[in-house]
């Protein structure tokens, strides 16, 4: 596998660019690079490396510059990834996540309907018929960036970001979809809400989703949302119940 570019991020971090455009192909390359580097770290082949993190088209390796120089590290990484064959699709799990598209929760369905000249029901139908891929987690703990949104639903971000997007909000912008794990400011258009907690610090791996996973949304009613939300809060577990066979 060829590295597009090795970019120095800091005197303690280097970013390897694996692709130049976001998509499933980039995701597969990133996932293969991430796996190879994690394996090399575990085997001791990358002294001083503390962590490797993935983004849409690149991986970033964080290291201790007292233990290894950046040029030595870059050489080792280039050599390592040169021997890795890219996979066609990233390896991941499949999820069917409940989503309530009721207008009380899908706060921007009405304005989107106007902007896209699409009936709200049509927006929901297109959204829930899409198989999304988790390209990366970022911005907030547990927040997945999902692609690709059907072109018919593509809209630029809101000009006025909301100061508080409610936790669980499923929101879209451009060709992407996100689920906000926390109440936070945000500029994406909210189409619904998912009651499944995306981040549980008491778990070994706190984030529910990982890059490479695929997701479909299953529409639920306002009442079903209320019950699920209550049950999931009370039990605190059973997140794996939403995994489905590939």
């Amino acid at each position: 596998m060829r590295i597009g570019a090795v970019r120095s991020l800091a005197d303690t971090a280097v970013t390897l660019e694996m692709a130049t455009s976001v998509g499933l192909e980039a995701s597969a390359k990133v996932s293969a690079a991430l796996g190879a580097i994690e394996q090399a770290m575990a085997s001791g082949a990358l002294p001083g490396v503390s962590e490797v993190a993935a983004a849409f088209c690149s991986v970033t390796v964080h290291y201790d510059c007292l233990q290894i120089t950046q040029s030595d590290l870059a050489d080792r990484l280039t050599g390592l990834l040169g021997k890795v064959a890219p996979t066609e699709r990233p390896e991941g799990r499949s999820w069917l996540l409940p989503c309530c598209y009721h207008p009380e929760l899908g706060l921007d369905l009405a304005s989107l309907s106007e902007a896209l000249s699409l009936d709200p029901d049509r927006i929901v139908a297109l959204h829930q018929a899409t198989t999304f891929h988790v390209y990366a987690l970022g911005f907030l703990p547990g927040l997945p960036f999902l692609g690709d949104l059907p072109p018919d639903l593509a809209r630029p971000r809101r000009t006025e970001p909301r100061l508080r997007v409610p936790a669980g909000s499923v929101a879209i912008a451009n060709r992407m979809c996100v689920i906000y794990p926390w109440n936070s400011p945000g500029g994406w258009h909210i189409v619904g809400r998912c009651p499944v907690p995306l981040f549980d610090i008491t778990c070994d791996v706190p984030a529910l989703l990982a890059a490479g996973d695929s997701i479909r949304f299953k529409p639920i009613t306002r009442e079903e949302f209320r019950d699920l939300d209550r049950d999931l809060r009370a039990s605190g577990g059973s997140r794996d119940a939403f995994r489905v066979a590939c």
């Binding site: 800091a10 005197d11 993190a53 547990g142 926390w182 791996v205």
Partner: protein
């Protein structure tokens, strides 16, 4: 999935000691923003978890060295104003960093001073009263044995964005009881201090090229390295917004990039053209061009910045930055090697009196009377020295 957030009280307790007998610090008043932090989370970035951890890693090392703790043991990071902490149920040994000083007040009403870079033992009932950190920036309070808090992603740091880690994912509140984690070994009864301060670098903040350094046009690069930038009040643990000459990009390069990995110290430039320096709590990826990154050795200097400060930047190569890091490490080790018994104002006064060198006109026990070489040079020289 197995739970990792397990309270460690049971495991850390010496054999036969009841949990309620554990020494602890009671938070009498919390200070403006007092957080439990260590070296930050491990392997959280792929899950969107910021690194977090203390803003000043050098001070973390020194404070823990003063206490005989492991170098990355969690501490309290204090901002703007300091908490008041009372030792309960046993002696608690604490150490403070180079921006903090104050007094230890005993239950009988008497008090003794505690100076910068000092470890001291609080007897049960003793209260640690500290002045605000120097220039109202930040300071660290270390605790011998660390705190009995759950470990999340290999760390006891506080993640404010998602409300986990530290003490229930938040700043300290009045009434919090901070139990000690490791009570093994005897507690020293005399003060120790660092007698050789790590004189931090002065002059421009040193940066290496960032992943999108070639985005800047010649005017942008000239502005960034040729003018000064003011630290704005938009300053928190996530980042520091600067104000100065607007930075411009080459034709065809915009402020929107495909988000890629970020790191503390990375300087990103949004559409406004005003740079933002990302700090410990910054998001894991950034969608703005990162034109330069502050070197690891100068990150502690950023933690001392307050709104209104003016920063200038100087470019260094990666090889230079690696050399600077090695030299910085040597200075930290020298400072650790210099740790020794503290100057005891009371004892010295008694000694001097006994040999009739002073007549009591000079109050050597004043809290601000401290060996001059411990000050960073910012204080007025003491006429009595």
């Amino acid at each position: 999935m197995t739970a990792t957030c397990v309270p460690l009280a049971a495991a850390a307790m010496p054999f036969g000691l009841r949990a309620d007998m554990a020494a602890a610090l009671l938070v009498k008043s919390p200070g403006a923003r007092t957080l439990v932090q260590d070296t930050g989370f491990r392997n959280g970035r792929c899950q969107g978890v910021p690194a977090c951890g203390v803003l000043d890693r050098s001070a973390l090392r020194l404070v823990n060295a003063l206490l005989g703790n492991a170098p990355g043991t969690e501490v309290l990071e204090v901002a703007l104003s300091s908490p008041v902490l009372v030792a309960t149920e046993g002696p608690v040994r604490v150490a403070i960093s180079g921006t903090l000083r104050g007094t230890v007040q005993r239950p009988d009403g008497s008090s003794r001073p505690i100076g910068v870079w000092t470890a001291t033992t609080l007897a049960p009932g003793d209260a640690l009263h500290l002045q605000p950190p120097e220039r109202f920036a930040i300071g660290l309070i270390g605790i011998r044995g660390g705190l009995d808090l759950p470990l999340c992603l290999d760390s006891r740091s506080t993640c404010l964005a998602a409300g986990f880690g530290g003490v229930m994912g938040r700043s300290l509140q009045a009434g919090d009881l901070l139990r000690l984690r490791d009570l093994a070994g005897p507690v020293l009864d005399h003060d120790l201090c660092v007698t050789e301060d790590i004189d931090s670098a002065t002059g421009p903040i040193r940066v290496v090229a960032g992943p999108q350094h070639e985005w800047l046009d010649p005017d942008g690069a000239a502005a960034f390295f040729g003018s000064s930038y003011t630290v704005t009040p938009q300053l928190d643990r996530m980042g520091m917004r600067l104000d100065g000459q607007k930075l411009s990009f080459l034709p065809g390069k915009t402020a929107d990039i495909i988000s890629d990995g970020a790191a503390p110290g990375a300087i990103q430039v949004p559409g406004s053209g005003q740079p933002i320096i990302l700090l410990a709590d910054a998001q894991t990826t950034g969608g703005y061009p990162k034109v330069a990154t502050v070197i690891r050795s100068d990150l502690p200097r950023l933690s001392a910045c307050v709104p209104g400060d003016r920063l200038t930047f100087r470019s260094v190569s990666i090889a230079e930055a690696e050399g600077i890091a090695a030299a910085h490490e040597a200075r930290i080790k020298a400072a650790i090697d210099s740790i020794g018994p503290a100057f005891d104002p009371g004892m010295i006064e008694g000694r001097l009196r006994s040999v009739s060198l002073i007549g009591g006109a000079v109050d050597m026990a004043r809290p601000d009377h401290f060996p001059g070489h411990l000050y960073s040079g910012k204080e007025e020289s003491n006429p009595c020295d």
